[in-house]
């Protein structure tokens, strides 16, 4: 390494605590309701692992607001990615579970962090083999920048400018056993 040793403070920085996460998800739920015709039930499709949890929480809020619970599904996109052989190891796949025929329904993809956009591209590919939603939108808890494709989220919990080297760690109490948090970790 020829770079200067990193002397700046590199302890993880909390970008969102549980209250901020709760508020952001609630606001996104309101925005989703506002921008959809309530006569047609929305499908929320979470991308594993934590996108599924964000989608579940969005569904809870939308149900409170509208009195109707959106359809909630899981969309595993690993088998639709284009970088299988460059990763060197394979991680476990989740079972895709979409509870309803997608044709002519509005669908909102949900993920925890938006980064390059490649996950979203794969998700769009994957969706094509299940049906033809009337519209597809994207909701993310955190947009960290560094898009590599002409894809941007429709609903954002928090814009969080980062450097490429930093990592964003999202934790949910019910999955991870630690309080809800979004943390920026410096390299």
């Amino acid at each position: 390494m020829t770079a200067e040793p990193n002397t700046s403070d590199n302890t993880p920085k909390t970008a969102m605590d549980s209250e901020a996460i709760e508020k952001a998800i609630r606001r996104m739920a309101h925005e989703i309701v506002e921008r959809h015709d309530s006569t047609n039930r929305i499908v929320l499709a979470g991308i594993p692992t934590r996108g599924v949890e964000v989608a579940r929480r969005l569904a809870d809020h939308i149900e409170k607001i509208e009195g109707v619970r959106p359809y909630l599904g899981t969309l595993d996109i690993s088998m639709h990615r284009d970088d299988l052989s460059t990763r060197g190891k394979v991680t476990a796949l989740e079972v895709t579970d979409l509870p309803v025929d997608l044709d002519a329904r509005p669908l909102v993809l949900v993920d925890d962090v938006f980064f390059t956009g490649r996950t979203t591209r794969a998700a769009l590919d994957a969706l094509a083999s299940f049906g033809r939603p009337s519209t597809i939108q994207l909701a993310v808890l955190v947009d960290r920048g560094h898009r590599e494709l002409p894809i941007r989220p429709d609903y954002v919990g928090k814009n969080l400018p980062t450097s490429r080297e930093e990592k964003i760690r999202v934790r949910f109490e019910n999955l991870d056993g630690v309080p809800d948090s979004v943390v920026v970790i410096k390299p």
Binding site: M79, H80, T91, A92, S129
Partner: protein
């Protein structure tokens, strides 16, 4: 989170319980692909798979072919009669030529035990064992275990009988290795000529009387009597085999109602299994075939993405 790093699958003996579970979980995700109207995902787009079968096989080769196509790989089939092996080329030279043709994955069926490992250690391509002599047939073992796990939700603690021609069976070996690693109790059943006591060294029970174990088993996996491999001295005749080890209606009636009846195919109706029992509600023989595609998709996907572990 569990991960997979191997480039090859040459047997279940060399896998850990966690690796076997990884493949079973991955297969579960791929099973969903077969239930969609568009049964294809782009995971192996641009990859070339060579089905290199130096021993005849239709169902295994077809299953690999369907699996590869559902993953968007390009597939080439080479069979023994068409290959240069008959012209005197060695296995290694043939395989090096396949690699020079830039095959990313070679699915190998060969009569010599260890042939897959031999190539896996020498080539950069992923090598998938589709049966090497009487050694292993790991994807068949995996699909049997997948089918059992899907029905019972677990493998641990189940009593599983494998019946028939164990001595010559690579299917039996892969089942034994995989099932024991996942905590099943395995009993091998057959005439002493085909199921010698020495198998007990693997950690299984050996029984020479099918009637003794029928009431206690959760799964009975019937192996095909391989007429083409057997010389006459292993058992006196098919009639005697049926009377002692065939799953007749009378024997099937003694099974638990929840007991699964499995067979890797092709079945000899009236030999290993009564024709009506093969079509009955406890039989999962055709589900095994469907699950085979999902399991092979999982294996191809995982090995194509694995960087390879140092051997």
């Amino acid at each position: 989170m569990s991960t997979w790093t191997r480039k090859d699958l040459t047997g279940l003996d060399e896998l850990t319980a966690a690796e076997i579970t990884f493949l079973l979980d991955t297969a579960r995700a791929f099973k969903g692909v077969g239930e969609r109207s568009l049964k294809k995902v782009p995971a192996l787009r641009g990859k070339t798979l060579v089905n290199f079968f130096v021993e005849p096989s239709t169902r295994t080769r077809t299953s690999f072919e369907v699996a590869a196509m559902r993953l968007s790989a390009d597939v080439v089939n080479i069979s023994a009669t068409a290959s240069s092996l008959q012209k005197g080329e060695t296995l290694k030279d043939t395989a090096l030529n396949l690699q020079a043709l830039q095959a990313d994955i070679i699915v190998l069926r060969h009569s010599s035990p260890g042939s897959s490992r031999f190539l896996a250690e020498r080539l950069d391509s992923s090598i998938i064992n589709a049966g090497d002599g009487a050694h292993e047939h790991p994807t068949q073992g995996l699909l049997d275990i997948f089918t059992i796990r899907e029905k019972f939700g677990r493998i641990e603690g189940l009593n599983i009988a494998i019946v028939g021609d164990i001595l010559f069976s690579r299917v039996a070996r892969s089942n034994i290795f995989g099932l024991l690693k996942l905590g099943a109790n395995v009993t091998l059943v057959g005439p002493s000529t085909l199921v010698p006591k020495s198998f007990e060294k693997l950690g299984v029970r050996v029984s020479h009387r099918l009637d003794d174990i029928l009431a206690e088993v959760d799964v009975v996996n019937l192996l095909r009597i391989q007429h083409e491999r057997q010389r006459k001295e292993y058992f006196p005749g098919l009639g005697e085999y049926v009377s002692l080890f065939g799953l007749t209606k009378a024997r099937a009636a003694k099974l638990k109602p929840s007991c699964l009846i499995m067979h890797p195919g092709p079945i000899n109706r009236g030999v290993e299994i009564d024709s009506d029992i093969a079509d009955g509600h406890q039989s999962v023989i055709l589900e095994q075939v469907t699950n085979g595609i999902a399991v092979r998709m999982a294996v191809l996907y995982s090995c194509a993405g694995g960087a390879g572990v140092p051997t």
